[in-house]
């Protein structure tokens, strides 16, 4: 593997910001680190960049152990969460910085900079100072500064956080394109699951300093390995209850009076506390009186939220249990106040044992 993180931990005073992280990343790969705020994503990037020395573990880049190497000898580049453009340098000078450090000849340097200005639509702004640019423009300069030097790895720390939605989606496509063109691994930090899902080959879900799962994006979405991933990736209905019956093929859970059937038992035994997740888009709606699939639940439509191509139906059972169903908007859906039956296949129920939350390693 091109990059390999072996048992990386980082301790700050009393907390472990990252805890025994193992990852192996191939040369052509686009990897996202997805996790909530404070989960240790930035710290992990800083360890890879050499700005932070891991308390434990080793970092290997291109077969070389770089754990002891200072950042300027690692040949990596980073797009910082706060941009960190040099305020006393113009856009062009900012872009030239990595190239000057490489002692690149002037002509080649100009060519590279013009290429970066071009792909990032920054032409005409090259004489400006960072504080004369909008947030989005600064972000693009930061991205350009990461790309011009053709580094061994590009580390990106939420580079699109400050852009509006339209520009963000445009940039997602562009970033993915540069990654494929340059053929170097990108490690992309985000707390936005859509961003991670749209660009990455593989996604590592980071939670409280450890990697919950590092898997292909489809696997991660369709077969979440832990309750945390099921909750964090995609939008799901969450149920908490007790297992009433379990055999090899299926499992029944009693969640506050509601009986759920799931295929597979997730290693659970009767009497165990369990979480069950059903993705919003797996919940289908049928007219009142419908019986059939493994799980069906009579509900009333409380509200309908329009999301463009699909609509979210906020449902409520007679017991006051809330439920969300996302359906494509084809034809007339049920409207507010209508009685419907929400139903889903037992195969669409993801089951996890309820584990005590251990929090950060101390």
């Amino acid at each position: 593997m091109y990059i390999s993180l072996q048992g990386i931990s980082k301790q700050y005073a009393s907390v472990w910001a990252i805890d025994r992280v193992n990852m192996a990343i191939a040369k052509q790969e686009f990897v996202s680190l997805l996790g909530p705020s404070g989960s240790g994503k930035t710290t992990l990037l800083r360890v890879i960049a050499g700005l932070e020395k891991p308390t434990e573990g080793r970092v290997l880049i291109d077969g070389q152990d770089v754990t002891e190497l200072p950042p300027h000898k690692r040949g990596v580049a980073m797009v910082f969460q706060e941009f960190l453009l040099f305020p006393h340098r113009t856009v062009r000078e900012n872009l030239a910085f990595p190239l000057r450090m490489m002692k690149m000849p002037k002509a080649e340097m100009d060519e590279r900079i013009d290429w970066a200005l071009g792909i990032l639509s920054l032409q005409g702004l090259d004489g400006r100072y960072p504080n004369q640019l909008s947030g989005g423009q600064q972000q693009r300069v930061a991205l350009g500064r990461g790309l011009v030097g053709r580094p061994k790895v590009l580390l990106l720390d939420e580079p699109l956080a400050n852009l509006d939605r339209e520009l963000r989606q445009e940039m997602e496509v562009e970033i993915r394109r540069y990654q494929m063109k340059l053929g170097i691994p990108f490690i992309y930090v985000t707390h936005n699951q859509e961003e991670a899902l749209s660009m990455s080959d593989r996604i590592a879900v980071v939670n409280k300093g450890h990697v919950e799962d590092f898997a292909e994006r489809t696997t991660l979405y369709d077969k979440p390995k832990t309750a945390f991933i099921a909750q964090f990736v995609g939008r799901s209905n969450k149920f908490e209850g007790k297992v009433t019956a379990a055999d090899g093929g299926s499992c029944t859970i009693d969640a506050g009076g509601l009986s759920l059937t799931a295929s597979g038992n997730g290693g659970l035994k009767p009497g165990d506390a369990a979480f069950a997740f059903v993705k919003n888009e797996k919940v289908a709606l049928a007219p009142e009186g419908f019986v059939g699939e493994d799980n069906s639940l009579p509900c009333t439509v409380r509200d309908v939220i329009l999301r463009g191509a699909y609509a979210e139906y906020l449902l409520e059972t007679s017991d006051g249990l809330g439920l969300v169903a996302s359906r494509p908007r084809s034809g007339e859906g049920p409207s507010i106040g209508h009685a419907v039956v929400a139903h889903w296949a037992s195969g669409d129920v993801d089951l996890y044992p309820v584990k005590p939350d251990l929090g950060l390693r101390r």
């Binding site: 700005l51 950042p71 910082f80 706060e82 040099f86 006393h88 450090m101 004369q132 030097g149």
Partner: protein
Amino acid sequence: MAKGNIARKLQKPALIGTMLICYLFLYLPILHIGLGSVSKNYSFPYPPQLTWATFEKLAENTLYQTALGNSLLIGVLTALLSTLLACLATMGLLRHAGRHTVKFLILFIAPLFVAEVLLGLSSLIFNGLFLQLGGNLFSAILANTVHCFSYALLIIATQLYRYDWRLDDAAMVFGATPLRTFFEVTLPLIWPGLFGAFIVCFIMAFNNLEISFYLLGATPTLPSVAWGALRYGIKPELYALASGVNVVVFLVLGVMFVLMRTGAVRFGHKPERERSAI
């Protein structure tokens, strides 16, 4: 209503008057010496009778010239040394001291509270006993640096406190060695602080009497010569020297003002001004 009007009308003249009084308070003594230096009767130049006599005397007086040279040397070298040391100390303090910052800071600025006379005396004894340095210029520069260092540290710390060290991280990730990072990124952004510290240290060391007095022995400096002149009668050379130094200071200020106005020199980075320039 009428009362309010009068108050408002008086406001502006009152402001201007206060300003004038302040300026007179500040500059009358200097003007008096200046006038004296170019007058026949330098001790009471009213009405003035212009002559360059005092300056001619100064040009002949080697004691005053040596004193000026020595003071300049002490000023410049002390300022350089204290600024350099204070810059290194501040960087260490802000980057690496972590939660011990305040403790270290207090130890660094404690010399401020040692009386100058005491500092001069103890430096004389220490330098003589342990460094085998008799009373000479070098010894005086060291002792002045001890004193100026703390001021320089305070001035530089206020500037560096606002500095975002992550800019250094960015430079290093993009291939700059720590030294290169300092000269390419840190220094261009913090030099106004260093410059301010240099100027303050220079002025303090240039004018210092108490510390230098103990360490210089017979080597003259401007303050010591001026002090001596008090006892042996104020000579016309002193007038010329005082106004000469003042003229140089005002010239330097004037040049800096022009340079800043034309934009040839910028004091640090002024985001607001640049933003409004587009």
